[in-house]
Symmetry: C2
Subunit: 237 residues, 2 copies
């Protein structure tokens, strides 16, 4: 698994500093880490478009009409987020397609690798990756100019696919022996790639770039959120 090198480093010296306390996490200053608003919006918008495509694939391959119905609503939310971010780009006077284009190859590859081997892996892939990335971009938006940042956080905060994904995954896990073990492994393998996408959004995203140290608490928090999502499904993270 490809993993964030900064975090791996921190694991090698676990006793040299205290564990991060959750209440301290809100103090990270994103203003030096967040990219310019336009590339930020472009990458965030393209990620929502990819989330939409994954959800639409889940709709098309759903085993029941009930699942199709719930997932189609979730796909609609991802599409709304995408179009709302696109609208912010237009408001900035730029052509969204041009701004999104540089982010397409890596995001497309990421979607392919996270789409899984069957419908349940596809669902968990969406649940894990949108959980991490919506959380990350929502946090990162704190470093944008105030008004824009508020609007972006509002856009990303809309409750989307979580409920329906959890419901369908729980049903599958209850019905299919062995699915829980397979999904636990699958969920674990997704985290590193999702964090790499997150990290690529930071200004100066090289391994030794300034600010990597400061951002680490946020990654720790994203992983904690991920663990809670897996726990809620009865899966070991």
């Amino acid at each position: 698994m490809v993993f964030w090198s900064g975090r791996r480093g921190s694991r090698e010296v676990p006793l040299l500093r205290p564990r991060v306390v959750p209440t301290s996490l809100t103090k990270v200053d994103f203003t030096e880490l967040v990219p310019e608003p336009i590339p930020f919006l472009g990458q965030a918008a393209y990620i929502q478009l990819e989330a939409f495509e994954s959800l639409a694939r889940a709709v098309a391959t759903a085993p029941t009409l009930g699942a199709k119905e719930g997932l189609s609503a979730a796909a609609g939310v991802a599409l709304r987020k995408h179009h709302a971010l696109i609208a912010e780009l237009r408001r900035e006077g730029v052509e969204p397609v041009e701004v999104m284009a540089p982010f397409a190859p890596a995001t497309d590859r990421f979607r392919e690798t996270s789409s899984g081997a069957d419908w349940y892996e596809l669902l968990l892939g969406i649940h894990v990756t949108t959980g991490i990335l919506d959380g990350f971009f929502g946090r990162l938006a704190e470093g944008l100019p105030r008004d824009l940042g508020d609007r972006v956080r509002g856009i990303l905060a809309e409750e989307g696919a979580g409920d329906v994904l959890r419901r369908e995954l729980e049903r599958g896990i209850a019905e299919q022996p062995g699915l829980a073990d397979r999904l636990a492994l699958w969920g674990r393998s997704l985290v590193g790639d999702a964090l790499l996408i997150a990290r690529s959004a930071l200004r100066g995203s090289g391994p030794g770039a300034p600010g990597q140290e400061e951002i680490e608490p946020v990654f720790t928090e994203l992983i904690a959120d991920h663990t809670r999502r897996m726990d809620a499904l009865g899966l070991t993270a």
Copy 2:
């Protein structure tokens, strides 16, 4: 090609009656042909869900980000129509999934057969079939109780995929020699199946059922609309 038997009959005796005059078409009385509101809404809602799935497939396989962007907006419109019709079903106090279920097999088969061999055939398939079916269900809604009928016509009238489909098809036709001929044949082969889906929505839809004679002008009008859509692309209908 499977074709509507009533129309085939009419072709055999072309001289025995005058051609249908467009202005007379609005006089068809749908009240005896339209099904009960609940199955009507169920079938119309499921058809929009399938249109959404086809558009989402077109988004996922689009060759350019510009096409992806335009088609994603069109997919959003189909999804909005679907959810608005679902909301009407909930307002009637029924469970949408149960009402849609009987229409799923035939509509799924129809979507499969109309999805084509490549991206351009997929696009023309959506253009032709949503054109015919949105037109038909919008007309048929005239036979629903007044308020409901008005709301349904409003829902179906929202301009959706037409513009982006026409733009992308025109671009492909201009760039790829031979594509126009292939698409003309493909478009022609889609009409019969779309009319069969339309006809299955009528109350008492057997070949000799009452009202088939009366509905024929509407089918003639749907075919005329189809011909205009094909003409706009420079394709022989």
